[in-house]
């Protein structure tokens, strides 16, 4: 293990050594030094630790606890046991939103990873560094806008009557697509907008992974007569499969929490066509003031995220190649 590649876990020698007697027989001085070092360590993690404890770990436990209560934040909370969880199954709004979220998230991740990979492979083919730099910059640009800003200008562009997208479609002879005003149109538009913005993320990941491929392996394959397709399928894809896997995991976690685009562009509509699970949590807790029920739905979302990530890790054991 060299200094260049950071080890996965800290090796035992890290930290101020406590002397050769460590673990065998300690002198009082060594013990004092050890205790002082531990105190120093706790002090150093104190700030970040307190913040994470107070604003993440505490709230996750509180949310779990709250999910067993009925509470509107004004009147005293009332213990209801598992009623909140039982209600979820019969609540058409929640069940439907899980379906909407699944369709959106699955489409977004699939497209985001496929297009990002495709573009990264194409850019990797370019020989001139300046050409690569131009495309890298252009594909990254959408990430420099906030999702709120993107949702705003995309709403104008996809407006059925005045939007620039339908303007050009009409020039081509179409009668105009109800992008945000029909069920299917709204889903397609939100997927497009999310993918448009997030492709830059997967693209950058894959470009970095491809650039890091061992040169000698690629040259050996070329000398052995491997064509572009064969070297892609047999060598490049297996070698970058850990990065593809990482992109899928992160992408799915993000896409399952899609909120901004749906909230700003369609308000979850038309009807409930784009009401995601995060929008239901928002409406339940902060509009209807059902804090207990909202907590229960948010716990189900959390559980779904853990299950999906776990499933991906299980699948990855077969598909991902770790050299």
């Amino acid at each position: 293990m060299s200094a260049v590649t950071p080890p996965r876990t800290a090796p035992a020698r890290r930290g101020t050594p406590t002397g050769p007697t460590d673990g065998v027989r300690r002198t009082p001085a060594a013990r004092r030094s050890r205790r002082a070092e531990a105190a120093f360590g706790y002090a150093m993690i104190g700030l970040a630790g307190a913040a994470i404890l107070l604003f993440t770990i505490g709230p996750i436990l509180a949310s779990f606890g709250l999910s067993f209560f009925a509470w509107d934040i004004i009147t005293p909370r009332r213990f209801v046991g598992l009623d909140n969880y039982a209600a979820i199954g019969g609540d058409q709004r929640v069940v439907h939103s899980f379906g909407v979220t699944a369709v959106l998230a699955f489409s977004i991740v699939l497209l985001q990873v496929a297009i990002g990979l495709f573009l990264a492979l194409l850019v990797d083919q370019r020989r001139r560094a300046s050409t690569k730099a131009v495309f890298r910059t252009v594909f990254y640009l959408p990430l420099l806008a906030s999702t709120a800003a993107v949702s705003i200008f995309m709403t104008y562009m996809f407006n059925e009557r005045f939007g620039v997208v339908n303007y050009y479609l009409r020039l081509l002879g179409s009668s105009g697509v109800p992008w945000l005003t029909s069920d299917a149109g709204a889903v397609v538009t939100i997927v497009f907008v999310a993918v448009w913005q997030s492709v830059g993320f997967t693209f950058v990941l894959f470009v970095a992974a491809l650039a890091g491929l061992p040169r000698d392996v690629m040259e050996a394959a070329e000398i052995d007569g491997a064509g572009p397709v064969r070297s892609l399928l047999r060598i490049k894809l297996p070698l970058i499969s850990p990065t593809v896997f990482f992109a899928c995991v992160i992408g799915l976690i993000n896409a399952m929490q899609l909120f901004d685009q749906a909230f700003i562009m369609t308000k979850g509509g038309p009807g409930t066509a784009t009401t995601t699970i995060t929008m239901v949590i928002y409406q339940t807790a902060f509009q209807n003031l059902q804090f207990g029920y909202g907590s229960a739905i948010s716990m189900v979302l959390f559980a779904a995220l853990i299950a999906l990530t776990g499933l991906q890790f299980t699948l990855s054991r077969r598909l991902v190649f770790y050299s």
Partner: protein
Amino acid sequence: MTAPSFSRSSLFERSSLTRRIGRGAGLVVLVLAATVAFGPLLWTLTTSLREPAESFTNPPVWLPLEPDFSNYAAVFGEVSLGRFFLNSVIVTGLIVGAQIITCTLSGYAFAMVRFPGRGAIFALFLATMMVPVQTTIIPVFVLISRMGLSDSLASLILPAIGSAFGTFLMRQYFLQMPVELGEAARVDGASRFQVFRLIYAPMATPAMATLAILAFTGFWAEFYRPLIFLQSQENFTLPLGLVTLQGTFGTGSISVVLAGVILSMIPSVILFVVAQRRFVEGITAGSFR
């Protein structure tokens, strides 16, 4: 290349015609994709430079030969965009500053200091990265109200001063540093904090820059927490403020809203131009281990 007879380029010269056609087609696809990626941004920019009255008429003006800057004036005059901007600068600036401090301290401790429970506590830190904001938002909202911070910029800043991912990022960086430097300084009488402050922290500035970029992009664009925590318009941050503008202005003067959108992107674009490498590092930091 010292071996001309078997150099890379000679192999490329023999590449077949099909291969060249493939590369040409690849370029065409790339240009098309770049058009799709850049088109909406260009439309936003050029439309923000059109006169408000005609900003929604098609065809769009892709090349603003006679740019009209009245929208940008309106955004600062009639509209309180300047206030939103200032709020965003305060919130994002303080969070970035706080995270650099807390994460450098904790990342160093997890990498270089030995204390009981270090592995377990670090694992707990990492586990919190999985928690979606939706699952903690209700208790945090209640907590913020009880602290008397409802509808304030502090309600956005305080819960964000620590970061598990930032701690992870800094720890990875400190792990690459030689322990011998600190040991030598300790022998020479430096305190533990002096070793951190004077020797290791200065070496970690590249990682701090990456962390700063990550935190900036995340919180500058944040919409969800401001939407829930803030009520009065004078406290709104940019993304929330822009969405409010869009709602109140309707279809009449979209060019004003789009001018706001362009202005909101300027700090990100400047940072990107100055520190492009750090953006890439921020994205890839989690993937290679």
